[in-house]
């Protein structure tokens, strides 16, 4: 694959499960180029990388490499004592090995990614897992493309998405140029009390959008 044009983008969704600092590499370790290994090492440090528990769902053949839906699930009890703290996605075929990083805080359930269209159940019961969907309008310009005249188009991406529930952070995604335009996230959390979910996207060129949604917990 041509490195300059192999932009493989993901509509990323992650389902929380167990395991600390779960690392998802798209390809087997033996085939991994040094850059991706370095990026993984930067995250895990000297900790050993083991296989299993992580399930990556994406189409074997994508209709268009510009937008590839991705779901990551990790087997986990998701209890305070044993839960997933972060999910990192890497690829060796992009100009940059980092794809996206999700950070989860209890309470939480399932995670997926979207533009300032937000879907939250307005009413639920205490202890229920609620699915949250967010979609935001953004070009996610990679910085690797050139205009028809050959000039480099500067990078313009969302770098960070954070969801807080009554002030407490429940979900965080760190985005890289691999993420598609108009990123869509689906994730879940556990309904604990009535209140407000706040969603914030921040990125290059001073991009900052904040949206809120009310949730009523019976």
């Amino acid at each position: 694959m041509n490195r300059a044009t192999s932009r493989r983008e993901f509509l990323a969704g992650a389902a929380a499960g167990l395991g600390l600092g779960a690392v998802i590499a798209v390809t087997p370790a033996h085939a991994t180029p040094q850059e991706m290994q370095d990026a993984i090492r930067k995250v895990v440090g000297s900790a050993p990388v083991t296989k299993g528990r992580v399930k990556l769902e994406l189409p074997p053949l994508s209709e268009n490499g510009n937008t590839v839906p991705l779901t990551v699930s990790v087997e986990s009890a998701m209890t305070p004592a044993d839960h997933v703290r972060a999910i990192h996605v890497f690829t060796e075929l992009n100009p940059q090995p980092e794809v996206v990083t999700f950070r989860l805080r209890l309470p939480r359930g399932r995670v997926a990614v979207a533009n300032a269209l937000i879907n939250v159940p307005d009413r639920t019961r205490r202890g229920e897992i609620v699915e949250i969907k967010t979609l935001i309008s953004h070009p996610m310009e990679t910085g690797y493309r050139r205009s028809q005249l050959g000039a480099r188009i500067p990078r313009d991406i969302i770098r960070l998405f954070v969801c807080t529930y009554n002030g407490t952070e429940v979900f965080r995604a760190e985005l890289h140029p691999a993420i598609t335009a108009n990123p869509f996230f689906v994730f879940s959390t556990v309904a604990t009390e009535s209140g407000t979910l706040t969603f914030q996207w921040t990125g290059d060129n001073g991009f900052s959008v904040t949206e809120t949604a009310a949730i009523t917990v019976d």
Partner: protein
Amino acid sequence: MVALAGASFAGEIPQAERRSGYELMSRETRAMQDDDTANPGMLAVLEGSALWARKTGAGGRACADCHGDARASMKGVAARYPAYDATLKRPVNLEQRINLCRTERQQSPALAYESRELLALTAYVARQARGVPIDIPVDARTQPFLDRGRAAFYRRQGQLNLACSQCHDDNWGRRLAGNTIPQAHPTGYPVYRLEWQSLGSLQRRLRNCLVGIRAEPYEYGAPEMVELELFLMWRARGMAIETPGVRP
């Protein structure tokens, strides 16, 4: 080659075998269109609803000031476009109708083709026709335009000397490189195309195809474009509008 050209008309798709491009897409892409919270085209619909209510131009009027709630007044309208304009004595597409309203009623400058605003308004209006079967009335006034659109569809053109029909009538469902060739029914426009990573009009899509066969594409809004649109919508008569569609 002569035999192939002669077979073009014979390849017209029987009504019962017509398929929306939706049916030829992968499960993942269909899921993206089906879920309004995942469909990126809905961002434009949302923006369009805001523009619908925004006052503009010297008239200081919004679309809503004349047309009221689009959910009622625009219901099913997109399924009838392009429609004949008695003043211009030719069919106009939905984008042109919106711009005619802007320049004549709102005294506001026309919006550029493929501009964010025009796509948003078009998507918002067309969204109100979702599920409505396409119904292009044909009468003595529209017939010549429809005939010209049909002729363009079956005309070989460009350096590759290909007619639209050679792919979309005769070879739909087969593959052109990695892509499944659809029947070219314009049921979801404006569509969010994964390749574009943005919303685009039917004319943008037609221009892509024309460049693909190495023909010089018609300008946006050119009469030839509208005639081709008219023919394609007529060809898809009875099929349901899906706007905003998602396509690979």
